[in-house]
């Protein structure tokens, strides 16, 4: 039936674009090319996928890890949101990771991912992700697939153009999507004074080569526009960074209308090597802007927080050659650089063309002083002078572009729900493939690096409607896998994703897999409350704090009988998992505890806090099926009234035994 309607429309000679737009709801029966799609995504039982696909969880605050081509979900990495399943943000060790200068914030909105790179190619060491709402950047250690560092970004509201990185991971960046008063402490001003008072900070965060530790090196004080997305230069343009911005109108209300007044907004081209020169010359200004930096150690199995008090700022007006604006049509969003580094693509959300800028032309325009105007001391380069070309009639609502190794670009079109393949040099459309529906970001294996592996493209769609079994009003988000080895893109697979993925990264498994960690060495455990062997188990009282030095091994806790805990005590269970075998975590939970569980990896120590409120018998048990006798891995804690005379005792090796 649907097919008939489609054929009829086509027969009537209506353009394919119109068909797509009007026929959106009718496209529900569209399936992958029957041919060999199933064979291409089938990963037989016991076999492993060929690629890792990391997709941001969007409003889930986490990261989803999938295998490609199967689309199987392998892990959810907790980042900015508490995850009771893993005790993330609930255990005493992980709570500092979610601490900010504004207190404990248990949620955020992850948008963009970047794999660390060496010479512009993903090296599989770390994965960076931004927190959009309470501006932060997290670094994931890809040996453990865990968040190992979170740094807060001050003077930033909506850290969206982040955490894109330079080719040798020298810097990751952050930017403010909401211009705002600089600094936060100066924020108590009338909103109507936005044009006068609001600024847009671009932050460059250095990444230590060995440890990966992040530190804000400098912030560039830009005009109060909305900085939206970015990508680093590479190859030809190494040393530069490109940021799109919209709302050059500087509207502070109804941006939907008021920020779309001008024909062009800008891409800011930032020469970060020049910034380093200016810093060395002492052009930086130190400003008070307290922010937090949280680091998780795999030696102490604990996180620590530190407050940094200041940032160094650079003012472009005082630093000639630091920043240039390139006029870019209609509220640009995506900002993508091709593998050679020569071409910079802007995705103008409301534009009818895709502008492609040339880095060598930018250099020439700067040398020739081909300058249209000046905004707050920042030269605006002449559009025609820096333009390589425009892709004509590419589709509606261009957003993001990725690349393959053969000189082709792939751009997502939100409004017309399609991925369009085009040749970068010629700016000519080669192929278009529908998405179901309304694609946001897209990703190609290594598609924003110097050497894309190509082969697969994944479109991450914002709307799924009828693609899956319905689950009430709220539906899964959807990813769609395409084979891009041929001239034409071929849809292979739909698969659901967690949260709402924005950007993603995809790389061959071999880059990461061999380094994956299996256990933590017990004898290297430097946790302050580690229990090295069952002989060391004990329970200690310090005032109303009770510290339980417990061990877990298949399949018992030691101690598993504790008495003398009283109502109102702060009980800390420091559980060391004595296992040294891969894939043998133990879980730990206490009845009526206003807290989550612990999930303790082999060789690790984690701490669960519990403040019993009523006298009684409290059961505790292992929550992770660990052996044939897992059900036996249980115990009791007797809780007595606050004034009871029951002495603290347990069946731990070093304790007085309960009577």
């Amino acid at each position: 039936m649907k097919t008939k309607i489609l054929s009829l429309l086509a027969a009537l000679g209506i353009g394919s674009m119109v068909v797509l737009i009007t026929a959106c709801p009718s496209a529900k029966n569209t399936t992958a090319d029957a041919g060999d799609a199933a064979q291409k995504v089938y990963v037989a039982p016991g076999k492993q996928d060929e690629n890792y696909f990391f997709a941001s969880g969007g409003f889930s605050g986490q990261i989803g890890v999938y295998g490609i081509p199967s689309g199987r979900l392998l892990r959810v990495i907790p980042v900015f949101s508490q995850d009771p399943e893993k005790g993330w943000g609930y255990s005493e060790e992980t709570k500092p990771m979610l601490t900010t200068s504004h207190g404990f914030i248990p949620w955020d909105d992850t948008h963009h991912l970047q794999l660390s790179m060496t010479d512009g190619i993903p090296d599989g060491r770390w994965l960076f992700v931004n927190g959009n709402n309470t501006p932060r950047i997290a670094r994931i250690d890809l040996t453990t697939f865990r968040t190992t560092e979170i740094i807060e970004i001050p003077n930033t509201a909506g850290n969206h153009a982040s955490p894109f990185i330079t080719p040798n991971t020298e810097y990751t960046v952050a930017a403010t999507r909401f211009s705002e008063p600089y600094t936060f402490e100066n924020g108590d001003v009338p909103i109507a004074s936005a044009k006068e008072n609001f600024k847009g900070a671009l932050s460059f965060i250095s990444v230590d080569k060995e440890s990966g530790k992040m530190g804000i090196k400098f912030q560039i004080l830009m005009p109060g526009f909305s900085y939206d997305l970015s990508h680093s230069g590479k190859g030809a343009s190494d040393g530069w960074f490109f940021f799109t911005c919209y709302n050059s109108e500087q509207a502070n209300t109804m941006l939907e209308v008021n920020a779309s007044q001008k024909d062009k907004d800008y891409i800011a081209a930032v020469n970060w090597k020049k910034a380093e020169e200016y810093l060395a010359q002492g052009k930086g200004r130190t400003v008070k802007a307290p922010y937090m930096r949280n680091h998780y150690s795999d030696e102490t199995h604990s996180a620590t927080s530190e407050t940094v008090e200041t940032v160094v700022t650079l003012n472009p007006a005082e630093c000639p050659g630091l920043v240039y604006f390139m006029p870019t049509p209609k509220s640009p969003h995506g900002c993508d650089v091709d593998p050679t580094g020569e071409y910079i693509v802007g995705g103008g959300k409301l534009a009818t063309v895709i502008p492609v800028f040339s880095f060598s032309k930018i250099q020439k325009a700067i040398a020739d002083k081909s300058i249209e105007s000046d905004i707050a001391g920042i030269p605006v380069l002449n559009y025609k002078a820096v333009l390589h070309g425009e892709v004509e009639k590419p589709g509606l609502g261009p957003l993001h572009t990725e690349f393959d190794a053969n000189g082709n670009a792939y751009t997502s079109f939100f409004v017309s729900s399609e991925v369009v393949k085009w040749n970068v040099k010629e700016c000519k459309v080669i192929d278009r493939a529908p998405t179901y529906y309304s694609v946001g970001h897209l990703v190609v294996t290594g598609g924003d690096s110097k050497k894309p592996w190509g082969k697969y493209l994944i479109a991450m769609n914002k709307i799924t409607k009828d693609r899956y079994l319905p689950t009430g009003p709220e539906l899964t988000q959807s990813a769609q896998l395409y084979d891009i080895t041929g001239e034409k893109m071929k849809l292979l697979l739909d698969f659901p994703t967690i949260g709402e993925p924005h950007y993603a990264q995809m790389c061959p498994a071999e880059i990461i897999k061999p380094k994956s960690r299996k256990t933590f060495k017990l004898l290297e455990n430097k946790h302050p409350y580690v229990t090295l062997g069952e002989k060391e188990t004990r329970v200690e009282r310090k005032g109303n704090a009770v510290h339980v030095y417990a061990t877990a091994i298949r399949s018992h806790f030691k101690p598993d009988n504790i008495e003398g805990v009283k109502v109102g005590d702060e009980v800390y269970f420091h559980v060391t998992n004595l296992e040294q075998d891969w894939d043998v975590p133990h879980g730990f939970a206490i009845r009526h505890n206003e807290n989550a569980e612990l999930l303790i990896m082999p060789g690790e120590t984690q701490t669960l806090k519990w403040i019993p409120k009523k006298p009684g018998m409290y059961a505790m048990y292992c929550t992770d099926f660990c052996s044939a006798l897992h059900q036996e891995m249980q115990g009791y804690i007797r809780v007595s009234p606050a004034n009871a005379k029951v002495e603290l005792s347990s069946n731990a090796a070093k304790d007085k035994k309960p009577q």
């Binding site: 016991g46 256990t519 060495k521 017990l522 004898l523 090295l532 062997g533 069952e534 002989k535 060391e536 061990t551 091994i553 298949r554 399949s555 018992h556 030691k558 004595l578 296992e579 040294q580 075998d581 894939d583 043998v584 099926f625 660990c626 052996s627 044939a628 006798l629």
Partner: protein, 169 residues
């Protein structure tokens, strides 16, 4: 769920074999045979077993450590190091004088060869899978000893510690 796929496959293969036997009406004999095979050796691990009664039918094959050279006397420094490793790594499941999660180990050097002990520590999965004595012990304990990722030097030290404990009795 922690399961070993290879093992599972092997178990399934065995189940199929057993099923075939059933078809041929010999399951009863086969079953009785396998239980009997463990009745003596199965308990050959605790304090109450008389080690001298164990019958070793043929020399078992070890895959990781083929031969262990023992000194004529205990090396005290090595034994001390072995005590530390034992305390951290082994006491979760083993005591010296009584059965705990696993067998008592105070007299283990009297009933097991050094090669058996070394391979049990270092090549745990293979021993559980292939060694007849260990296969029978599993029927008693139902808990597979985990590989604790001890290196050969530390495993040798644990053996020295166990020799020392054994001699003190």
């Amino acid at each position: 769920m922690k399961t070993n796929n290879n093992k599972r496959t092997r178990r399934e293969a065995k189940a199929i074999q057993l099923a075939c036997l059933l078809v041929w009406g010999t399951i009863l004999l086969a079953g009785v045979g396998s239980i009997n095979a463990c009745s003596k050796e199965g308990n050959g691990d605790g304090a109450k077993t008389d080690a001298s009664k164990e019958v070793v039918k043929e020399k078992p094959q070890y895959y990781k450590v083929k031969n262990v050279e023992l000194g004529a006397t205990i090396d005290p420094a090595m034994a001390k190091h072995g005590t530390q490793i034992f305390d951290v790594t082994c006491t979760g499941c083993h005591k010296y004088d009584e059965k705990y999660v696993g067998p008592a180990l105070g007299q283990v050097t009297k009933r097991r060869t050094p090669e058996f002990i070394m391979n049990m520590i270092l090549d745990t999965e293979t021993m559980i899978d292939k060694d007849d004595t260990v296969k029978c012990m599993l029927q008693t304990y139902l808990m597979k000893m985990p590989n604790m990722q001890v290196d050969e030097k530390d495993a040798r030290a644990v053996l020295e510690h166990l020799r020392e404990v054994g001699e003190k009795k």
